[in-house]
């Protein structure tokens, strides 16, 4: 049986670990609330932008030569945006995304990958480290967006993607990230970012707008904005999902620490009992020996 002192020191260490995991859970919970608020802020903006764009596409019609963003090309050069977190200790959050990204590249784009035409654009320290250590072409100028998660910063990365796509640097762009479904569930998502699938609104009673400058130019100006909003949204989703995942993981960890503590306390009491019994036996034995002498 383990010595009393040993068990006691283990108990103290488990208690302090539990305190840390509990604190981390609280921090994750408050961060989750903040990023959920951010997600709600962008919603009216995104919705309005979407209706305007679909109104526009409906009034222009499908045949214009300005739609570089919607035309499907031969998929020679692929960009995969992988969104993870900066920090660990959030359960399977990062590994699910990384595994899915690797699987996507290996199953969908093996020929492009072998030619070195698959580029990875990591968001978050975890995916940056993962892909830069392996044999992937890595565009790692934008991994640090979670340090300052503003629309402006995300747009910088977004504009880079859009410009390169426009010039033919990429033929297809996909995003791999965790979507925030609720506090307990994150759903892995793989979205096609470019070429964009524009849904022309079927509503025929769209109001007769005056367009300034003209509809085509307007649309050309709006598409990058729309894409940036979409990217920003994915980043926010992933961020909220990260905090939710960390919250659940830390909750679980505190619970496990509690269980461990219970077992250790039982062990402690048992060995204490054994020590006392042993002492009494020794005293009685000693007294017995004195008597018979």
């Amino acid at each position: 049986m383990a010595s009393l002192k040993e068990v006691k020191s283990r108990i103290t260490s488990v208690i302090s670990t539990q305190q840390i995991t509990k604190a981390m859970r609280m921090v994750a919970a408050s961060k989750l609330r903040r990023s959920q608020e951010k997600m709600q802020q962008i919603r009216p903006y995104a919705r309005k932008l979407n209706t305007i764009v679909s109104n526009l596409t409906a009034s222009i019609g499908s045949d214009n030569d300005n739609d570089w963003y919607a035309t499907k090309r031969t998929e020679n050069k692929i960009l995969v945006v992988v969104i993870t977190s900066d920090r660990g200790l959030c359960g399977a959050f990062n590994s699910t995304v990384l595994k899915a990204a690797v699987k996507l590249v290996q199953e969908k784009y093996p020929t492009q990958f072998n030619k070195g035409n698959v580029t990875i654009l990591p968001f978050g320290k975890r995916s940056m480290e993962y892909f830069s250590k392996r044999k992937y072409v890595c565009q790692d100028s934008y991994w640090g967006i979670f340090g300052q998660m503003t629309f402006e910063n995300v747009s910088k990365a977004g504009n880079y993607i859009i410009d390169t796509f426009k010039q033919g640097g990429f033929d297809k762009v996909e995003i791999v990230y965790n979507e925030f479904k609720n506090v307990a569930t994150q759903v892995l998502k793989i979205d096609q970012f470019l070429p964009l699938a524009v849904e022309a609104s079927s509503v025929s009673n769209a109001p007769d707008y005056i367009f300034e400058p003209n509809a085509e130019e307007l649309l050309a100006g709006l598409i990058p904005q729309l894409l940036n909003v979409q990217l920003y949204r994915s980043v926010l989703e992933s961020n909220a999902a990260e905090h939710a995942a960390r919250m659940t993981a830390m909750d679980k960890a505190s619970e496990n620490a509690g269980e461990l503590l219970k077992e250790l306390k039982l062990l402690y009491n048992r060995s204490r009992q054994a020590a006392i019994t042993k002492e009494i036996l020794e005293i009685v034995g000693g007294a017995e020996a004195l008597k018979s002498a």
Partner: protein, 81 residues
């Protein structure tokens, strides 16, 4: 008429106004009550509006505006401090 100014990060303003001036892509223009439906690109510049508590100015970094049925919605890329 109702004016709403949104950025992806927050709502900047919402309220009743009588006249708004926008930095349009083709030059500045004004919108008053009962304006025809309009969608316009905006460049970097100042949005000026007159409401109950006087005139106000907001510097935006570009964006777009939609005018429909006395409701004006500005989708700004960002706001300059």
């Amino acid at each position: 008429m109702q004016l709403e100014i949104l950025t992806p990060e927050k709502k900047i303003f919402e309220g009743d106004v009588t006249i708004v001036t926008f930095p349009g892509a083709n030059g500045s223009f004004q919108v008053m009550d009962n304006h025809a439906p309009l969608i316009s690109l905006l460049q970097q510049g100042t949005v000026e509006y007159k409401g109950k508590d006087g005139a106000k100015k907001i510097n935006i970094l570009g964006g777009l505006v939609e005018v429909l049925k006395n409701k004006v919605i500005v989708l700004a890329t960002g706001v300059a401090a």
